[in-house]
Symmetry: C2
Subunit: 228 residues, 2 copies
């Protein structure tokens, strides 16, 4: 967790709330909703057990609050590239180079967020669990960020390839390209193991980004295979 407290409310209530949410993201991400106990949640947040029913109505309310917090957090880190990409997409006659530039910027930012999470703040476990058993919290996450990342990438790739944006094929293509990044998060244990790494350092993330650019360039270059 990085930022300073956003809202310093009346007394210590807001502080407790916030602390509890940030801890809850870690704990729920690590153990899952059922296995995470209110004792662990309260203990790690350094607050009293009874604060959970008091502030959030119960364990489930805290869970929802955590999902909302993640959506807001990632959204804020993506906002700048979202705006760049939106601007380029709105201009009817954006050049190929410009389309590629914002696509790379979008994927780079996404890769940084996705790969570096869990070396400090750990929302990814939370998100992965919601992928496995989508519930109320999945809606909050999907509507907030996932949809926009997918949508923007698909629009950019469609323009670059000159193919229709709303086809299933284009959506599949876009999902696959995002999968090239997400593998390092969702299959992190296997990826690190395979690479003989213990964790992702900055230069390793740069390698990932470099290979990604190479492969995205190849895909949108529309080179007919083995034309050589």
């Amino acid at each position: 967790m990085s930022g300073a407290a956003a809202a310093p409310p009346s007394r210590r209530g807001g502080e407790t709330r916030r602390h509890l949410i940030e801890t809850a993201i870690d704990v729920f991400g690590e153990y899952g909703f059922e296995a995470a106990t209110t004792r662990t949640l309260a203990e790690r947040a350094g607050v009293n057990l009874a604060a959970i029913p008091y502030h959030f109505g119960g364990k489930a309310g805290l869970y929802r609050a955590a999902a909302q917090y993640i959506a807001d957090h990632v959204e804020s880190r993506m906002r700048s590239v979202f705006e760049q990409a939106g601007a380029v997409l709105r201009s009817e006659r954006a050049g190929r180079a410009e389309l590629l530039r914002v696509l790379h910027a979008l994927l780079d930012t996404f890769a940084t967020i996705v790969v570096t999470s869990n070396e400090g703040d750990n929302w990814s476990g939370f998100v992965m669990r919601e992928q496995m058993r989508p519930g109320e919290a999945f809606e909050i996450l999907y509507q907030g960020v996932m949809q926009r990342v997918h949508g923007m990438c698909a629009a950019l790739i469609a323009r670059l390839l000159g193919e229709p944006e709303e086809d299933a094929k284009m959506k599949v293509r876009t999902l696959m390209i995002l999968g090239q990044i997400l593998i390092f998060r969702m299959g992190r244990a296997a990826a690190l193991r395979r690479l003989g790494w213990k964790r992702f350092t900055d230069d390793r993330i740069d390698l990932v980004k470099a290979v990604m650019r190479e492969q995205v360039d190849a895909i949108v270059a529309r080179a007919t295979p083995q034309q050589s």
Copy 2:
């Protein structure tokens, strides 16, 4: 699930054991180790609660047995393509077309197994949870299948690109290519949502495979970007 139980004991013990393992894969995959209760495990398997400590020494033993069962099962479904790929890789002067053919065969088989799981047998939740919190069971899964899939793909791609196989770059590249498939399993909820699908039918899986081939061909074609 296909394979027979490894150790068929005296009476109905083997049947109970097997049933318990297959159910356990579903239940652990759905709820996770901690949240899955022995009562649920026994009930869904239609066996007595006390059978779990009896046959597996406890909940943890059943979990390990389930991991081994998954590794064996996937291994057996991949065996044929593993052998094909191994043969091609051993022949020093395998042509480009042949290398591509076995790479596609490998990825196709992998895609089928990965995407169709969970419409019947559900080992993917189990595997994903081990990715999040790698434990004893992760070793069983990694050593068994993951390592071979990654290794074979990397070897084939390295040959096709004429790049060294053991470099981090090649491993990253291979992981990314596999990520194109795995996104449909690990990010299934978001993918289905984005595509407006409820589930993966045969023709949808064919679409995924077709796009994957296209993109793999583009990547290994070594086309310099924007040469056009």
